[in-house]
Symmetry: C2
Subunit: 270 residues, 2 copies
């Protein structure tokens, strides 16, 4: 694999992350996962806008402008001969620094772009409601894609231990926030709804596109609403996944429903 | 600087962190900051016990036993000729893995030990109560030293922006949890108290030693309690720091108080 690392394309074996990089020592950074199809990254402006918002919150200076980052995405796809469906990952860290929490000045941020072929579409999911942890909707970190969002990992490990594919995290107020790495949509009384950002939902790029298309509404829901939903769908930039079981029970008919197909057609028709 | 990296002492310039290391890509790891004096690391058993608890929670297999890790700490000090006061940092990550949240199996964790001379003692601190974020005491992550605990970083950046040295984070329930990288003690009505772990305090090694010595009691406090305290002290494994200003006002007499001296003498007499 060839990666784009601080301005140059290099074989991944030749890319050396400095052991003092704050991405490695403190999880002090951000990432974006970007779908590509036909050799072209999709929704690049939206991903770069979210990255820029995160960088502002963490006060990490972005060392490249959007055009340079977009070119890096293209170059990484081309260098890996990924002309079909692929996944790009763009990471920004604060770069090397001495021990301690306070950012080094000056800052030399690190940017790494990697790419891989798309995974096969995931089959419908069985999910649980996470008991092991919750999402802190009162921290602004819930609104950016920071490295080290390990509550999602804990929830995913819990799901695995309970024989499920994924877990929904509740907010500290007990409302549905999101799944371990995707936003949650639920069809309730004929209406497709998704939790508002204030409940701890990550501002997903696919989520925003669905809302902009008028296909769903933002509304707070709790675990009971989810357990009683007629349909549950998980979305992220890579795909739309139906949830056919929650806490061991069928969701609706136990099969992919109409909202799943509508969202998939809307997001991935191009 | 020479670091101990996955079993060998190497110059830091020769230590290459794999760009797919989940410490770098996901902040998926843990660390310990350990004080050394006279060439010997202090409270090693306590630090390694906390590391092991964190590794259990995150399901990261520890690739070395306590004896091997303790030897790595000693070797790193010796290789850097740090015979006086020094700071060791031990990091454990889940190691390299493909894209995605679920841990790779098998797992090849990464261990890095670095060392540096002790910073000079910090002067008394001016602190604020963080408004930008809060600590999620309901996540088990609040009880381990995970990489990527960026709420502490946000609070520290906020403190800097408000002209202070550090910030105290409140829990989601509005109770005092801890400062950005230290535990908080407050002398209130003649008694020295510190927030319980249930309020989001990290189980600090120095904190535990102070409690075990009977020098303080665990009790929930809120921001108003802190603003009215006669003395505030911050502790971590590296030192004891008096807080002489909070939100721009003097704490007590505005000078180091008796609790600061008692805690310092108790923790750093040996």
């Amino acid at each position: 694999m060839v990666v784009w690392f601080d301005g140059a394309l290099v074989p991944i074996e030749a890319a050396r992350v400095d052991p003092t990089d704050r991405g490695f020592t403190l999880g002090d950074g951000l990432f974006e996962t970007i779908r590509a199809s036909g050799g072209a990254p999709r929704r690049v402006a939206e991903h770069l806008a979210r990255l820029a918002r995160g960088a502002r919150l963490l006060a990490i200076p972005l060392p490249y402008d959007d055009d340079a980052l977009a070119a890096a995405l293209d170059a990484t796809l081309a260098a890996n001969a990924l002309h079909d469906d692929a996944v790009l990952r763009l990471e920004l860290t604060r770069g090397p620094g001495p021990r301690g929490l306070l950012p080094p000045r000056p800052t030399r941020p690190t940017v790494l772009v990697s790419a891989s072929a798309s995974p096969p579409p995931a089959p419908p999911a069985s999910i649980v409601v996470a008991r092991s942890t919750c999402r802190n909707e009162r921290s602004p970190l819930s609104q950016i894609k920071a490295l080290g969002a390990l509550d999602g990992l804990l929830a995913r490990l819990e799901a695995e231990g309970r024989g499920a594919d994924d877990a929904v995290l509740l907010s500290t107020a007990g409302r549905v926030a999101e799944a371990s790495a995707s936003n949650v949509f639920a069809r309730i009384a004929g209406e497709l709804v998704t939790p508002p950002l204030a409940d701890g939902a990550l501002p997903g790029v696919a989520r925003a596109a669905i809302l902009a298309a008028g296909l769903a509404a933002e509304r707070s829901i709790d675990a009971d609403d989810l357990l009683a939903a007629d349909e549950i769908v998980l979305t992220n930039s890579l795909g739309v996944r139906a949830v056919t079981r929650i806490e061991g029970r069928f969701v609706g008919s136990g099969r992919e429903g109409p909202a799943t197909m509508t969202l998939r057609a809307s997001l991935f028709s191009g």
